[in-house]
Amino acid sequence: MKPCPGRLPNAILRGPRVFASAQVDNRRMLFELDQIDLSRGGEPVLRGLSARIPEGASCIAGPSGSGKSTLLRLLDRLVDPEAGTVRYRGEDVRDRDPQALRREVCLVPQLPALLEGTVADNIHFAAELAGREPDVGRLLELAGLGPSFAERDAARLSVGEQQRAMLARALALEPRVLLLDEPTSALDPETKAAVEGTLLELRRRLGISLVLVTHDLDQARRMSKWLLRIENGRAVVAGPTSELLAAVG
């Protein structure tokens, strides 16, 4: 079978396959989802979804409308399932204070949504929520932005710059986990490579776990150690990214 760039062939992905299940058990689990049902606008989005996401860098892949973004919102408890449980580090997310959980597990949405004001205003806003005094210059540098961005009007940045500003704002919370919803979807290849480099550097320097939603399996190969594929609201395959993508060819 010839590899299909950016997509997993359906023949490989169909069926509830878990690659290298023994290795899963040896990893520390970040998230465990058990029999999740969730609807939006009366339409089922996630149906009986069960999956585990280990510590480290993971990717969630799947076609448009498969429920990837909803899954991220579930992990951040921005939405609750109608049935099933979501556990973060072994604890039901409903047993945790939702605001404290979101400061520890911070979601960066796909489309930038900065508040009115400068980039520094946005960073200060987030830092105050977490009761911290931010080092704006360092946060900008971590997100791959120069210090001159601090006083730039957030509304006047390009989409790529806004996405990095969103990242800097999220980092002001000093999270342990970043949930990233297609963080490079609107970027040109050069900026995309820069953002990927930034995220890998964050993982290396700060030890933050990353859960990244992507359409792009080449990106999953570069960015993650663990891959979860969902289709029609169900987890269809999960395993170490290298092993799973090697099976594709």
Binding site: R77, L78, D80, A113, L115, L129
Partner: protein, 259 residues
């Protein structure tokens, strides 16, 4: 001739409908689709004002404060139901509206009586109460309408703020600010221009009825300033209570209701 030197005959009232035909013609001409609403407004205003005229006459004759409170309570309920029609995107808006209009009415009337501006008599409390409830209803309706649009249109920004661990109160604060401003800005603006390009109704009524212009101005100022307070109270309470309906206890933005 009426008590204050003015009498309007039925024929004169009907003659004023000529202006309504112009409004209907404009609606037809520019295809605004408001002909039906204009007709309903004319019929409703006639029936409602005639009915309330008899009710007020009965209350004045009885000189009963209990009846005054009952009338104001009815106004509050009708006002809340009417305002809810303008706040369709706001979940469970009726409760906040009832409380907003009720508190605005009670606080305003209580204050003007306590300060000795008006005597606690039906002939003062009924018309002032009607003005207060009417203006409070408009302010609350505009504010909630704007709040529904704000939260609906800025859902992405609000959820991104919640994702930082912000409370729903913090995430909704910019929308609340804009909604409150929308609810009160119309009266603030008309108060600014009053006497220059706009003569308020009470003053006009008193001047037509033959009152001393200085007396008319004094009463109008009292009413304008009282109304400013009441619309601020009403819009503040309505938005402060209603925004909670958009969020769960876990600080999650609720899914908008199905159309």
């Amino acid at each position: 001739m009426g008590a204050l030197g003015i009498e309007v005959t039925i024929g004169e009232v009907i003659a004023s409908l000529a202006l309504v035909t112009i409004a209907v013609a404009v609606s037809f001409w520019r295809r605004t689709g408001l002909e039906g609403d204009i007709a309903v407004a004319v019929v409703r205003s006639a029936i409602q004002l005639i009915a309330i005229g008899y009710v007020i006459q009965a209350i004045f004759d009885s000189d009963s404060l209990l009846l005054v409170f009952a009338l104001i309570a009815v106004m509050v309920v009708f006002g809340a139901f009417t305002a809810r029609q303008r706040a369709k995107r706001v979940p469970k808006a009726l409760g906040p509206l009832l409380i907003a209009l009720g508190v605005a009415g009670a606080a305003t009337l209580g204050l003007v009586v306590a300060l000795g501006i008006f005597e606690p008599e039906p002939r003062y409390l009924v018309p002032v109460g009607g003005m207060v409830i009417g203006n409070s209803m408009t302010a609350a309706a505009v504010a909630l309408n704007r709040l529904g649009d704000e939260i609906g249109d800025r859902a992405r920004e609000i959820e991104a703020t919640l994702a930082l661990g912000a409370s729903s109160t913090v995430a909704a604060a910019p929308s609340l600010r804009r909604a409150l401003r929308s609810g009160t800005i119309a009266l603030v603006d008309s108060t600014k221009t009053t006497g220059l390009i706009f003569f308020p109704g009470t003053m006009v009524g008193m001047l037509i009825a033959g009152a001393d212009p200085v007396d008319a101005v004094r009463l109008q100022l009292v009413l304008l300033w009282v109304l400013l307070g009441s619309v601020a109270i009403s819009a503040l309470i309505a938005t402060t209570l209603a925004y909670r309906g958009f969020f769960t206890a876990a600080h999650q933005l609720r899914e908008p209701p199905q159309p």
